[in-house]
Amino acid sequence: MGECMNDSFKRETRAWLEANAPKTLLGTRMGKFDGYWGGRKNEESADDVLRWFEVMKEKGWTAPAWPKAWGGGGLLAEEAEVLNQLLQEYRLPPPLVGFGLTMIGPTLLDFGSATQKSSHLPRICKGEIRWCQGYSEPGAGSDLASLRTKAVSDGDDFIVSGQKIWTSHADRSDWIFCLVRTSSTGKKQEGITFLVFDLNSPGVEVRNIELISGASPFCEVFLDEVRVPKENVIGEIGDGWRVAKALLNYERSMIGEAIGGQMARVEAELLSLAAEYRGVGGEVPTSLKDTIAKFSMRERAFVLTVQKVREQWISGKKPGLESSILKVVGSELKQWRWELAEELRGLEGSGWAGEGFSEEALSDTRQWLRSRANTIEGGTTEIQLNVIAKRVLGLPLDGRR
């Protein structure tokens, strides 16, 4: 019965996609980050990307599984998965991407009040507001709970002062979800509150950080007596750590899944690089075939593991600690991929800019440098291993705590 319903849903959706998806976008999907981010500051999206976003928005399918009341498509989890598979099959980019859909949205669905849901979720679905994540601080990276950005109570408001760092795309975002300290007594996790506010608020300053890849996806966010209404607290005051951890599971699973999506064609890419730069009489040397096979098998096992975790989510289990496994494996695979490309190219991959190098080589080199951040951002590999050791394997906390 259930299967029949999914079959007819699949047939209808396929027909709808064929009628409505811009032909120019078919086959262009690279991964989840390759899409329309929305927001008030968006300037440079191509026409077909915008058209694709508009038709999907009308259908409610920017957030297909969210309730219709909050602007979503109201699809059952199985139906949303069918839609997702069809998008993969046509290699269509997602109509809308960003931390609104993948991080703060699911967190609001879990922890937000009705007012908060109705004021934020529809604006996320419509791509009106782009969100960024204010977690890390200069003195609180891996040791996140040591954060010091303080929120002082002032009537119905908090006055927020401090500094956030590594805030992805803060320069192009509209709102921030933020961890702030509302108390410095007791355990350091206990005085943390989860707060959201508009980056246009007086007292907010955003600066870009240039990375080794030359790009500036990360920013610093300076907060100088920013006035935020207390109604913008998600969950309870002082209970932000619990909300933050739930959101981290969404973040890590998003990173893992996104990497899974990007990996699909890497084997062929690596083989063509090996043939081009290392081929002997047009043949890829055996040792490189062995390396590429090693990579491809691990990549396939990773994709299967992502699929297994997704199957559990679809049957109703929320993303949990398995997201740390996906984060560790996915981020290292991504690094390995770019490292292999860099090694295969050799000096052809040494270009930073300008003449003498192919466009592709220049871009891949930047990707290789960018990929070094993969095992640092979103919780370092070492932090994920801590999580697995303590919370999955039940190993004891070390003596220092």
Binding site: I292, M297, A301, A389, P396, D398, G399
Partner: protein, 373 residues
């Protein structure tokens, strides 16, 4: 593809695990190893495994793909406690292979699935002319118009005790391939019994002008090539499951040790240097588990995808077991080096298993050939 176990599979896994945990502690291997033991396994335990219906899984499952998934579940549980009974080679090399070759009516099918004969297989040393053409280690010659078997099958698990051996055949007079199920009665085969590190029963089998009857050959001709590959794949999945179980078994013991062994005033598992290595092992086991499961569900699909999935499972399970076994000995410290501690058995099993049915290099080259690198 459902990568988690379905309800019936969970029931099977629970019951098999329950029996093995109660009856088959790893410590029993000390009494079973070496040439002084006639079988290198327990006849009582093997009898109980047959009683429990493990050899009937081919008949009781929906189809051969489901049967293999069920066999994989049993193999994994056996691997967890390093069981030494001849289940996998008899279930896959005997019952499953006979069914795959449409020999359910063959009287041997009933005999083997009822537990009245132990089957070994000669697919263990993967020597292939190419991915397309598995090369048989033994060949069939025509002597005075009669077919005779010649050659040596090396490192045959359960070879010293098996009643039959399933093996790929190469017919030198007709240039064709086949699959044989050969009786190992004493007069017609020379067995060189092996005393190996893993303590399991094994032998080299030498055939010299051993007459081959029609009943010895299950299949011959062009179809035999595809069937040889398929049976090889099935044996790889079963071996990969067993290795996955062994990796999990070694890991479980080591995790337990990390939580109970005290140094520096607390459990050593509180040390981050060990925690991260334990977490790494856990992650590798999860990846191997996905690979093995996907391979065990691949037998209803296309040949190429199946062979890729099975080679990948063999590689990931082999590498994972190797890592976990070595790390486990290391984390047990001094006691891990002693024969008194069970953990060493996992290391010894690991080296034998990852090299039989083709090592990781072989399977990666098979993968790259299948995927037209």
């Amino acid at each position: 593809m459902e990568l988690g176990l379905c309800e019936e599979e969970v029931i099977l896994a629970t019951s098999v695990r329950g029996f093995i945990e109660a009856e088959c502690p790893v410590s029993r291997l000390r009494a079973l190893r070496g040439l002084e033991h006639p079988l290198n396994y327990s006849e009582e335990i093997w009898g109980e495994m047959i009683e429990l219906g493990w050899l009937s899984l081919v008949e009781s499952s929906e189809d051969r793909c489901a049967a293999l998934a069920n066999i994989a579940i049993v193999a994994e549980a056996m691997g967890h406690s390093l069981c030494v009974e001849p289940f996998v080679s008899t279930a896959v090399g005997g019952v499953w292979a006979l069914a795959e070759l449409s020999h359910e009516e063959n009287p041997l099918f009933a005999r083997i699935s009822e537990g009245n004969a132990v089957v070994a297989h000669g697919f263990g040393l993967a020597k292939w002319d190419s991915v397309e053409n598995p090369a048989a280690a033994v060949w069939v010659d025509l002597v005075e118009g009669k077919e005779c078997l010649n050659g040596e099958l090396r490192f045959v698990e359960f070879g010293a005790v098996a009643d039959y051996v399933l093996l790929p055949l190469s017919f030198s007079h007709s240039d064709g391939l086949g699959i044989g199920l050969i009786s190992l009665d004493e007069a017609r085969v020379e067995r060189i019994r092996l005393d190996r590190v893993d303590g399991r029963n094994a032998a080299h089998l030498r055939f010299s002008q051993r007459p081959l009857g029609a009943e010895d050959v299950l299949i011959r001709g062009s179809e035999a090539v595809g069937k040889t590959r398929k049976i090889f794949d099935a044996l790889c999945v079963a071996a990969a499951s067993e290795m996955l179980g062994a990796a999990q078994g070694a890991f479980d013991r080591t995790l337990d040790y990390l939580k109970t062994r005290e140094q520096f005033g607390g459990p050593i598992g509180a040390l981050q240097a060990l925690q991260h290595r334990a977490a790494r092992m856990f992650v590798e086991i999860q990846l191997a588990r996905s690979a093995v499961r996907a391979a065990s569900l691949s037998f209803n699909g296309g040949d190429r995808d199946r062979s890729c999935a099975c080679s990948m499972a063999k590689v990931l399970a082999g590498e994972t077991l190797w890592l976990v076994a070595k790390e486990s000995v290391q984390m047990h410290g001094g006691v891990g080096m002693t024969d008194e501690c069970d953990i060493g058995f996992y290391l010894k099993r690991a080296t034998v298993m990852r090299h039989s049915l083709g090592d990781e290099t072989f399977h990666r080259s098979r993968w790259s050939a299948l995927r037209q690198y």
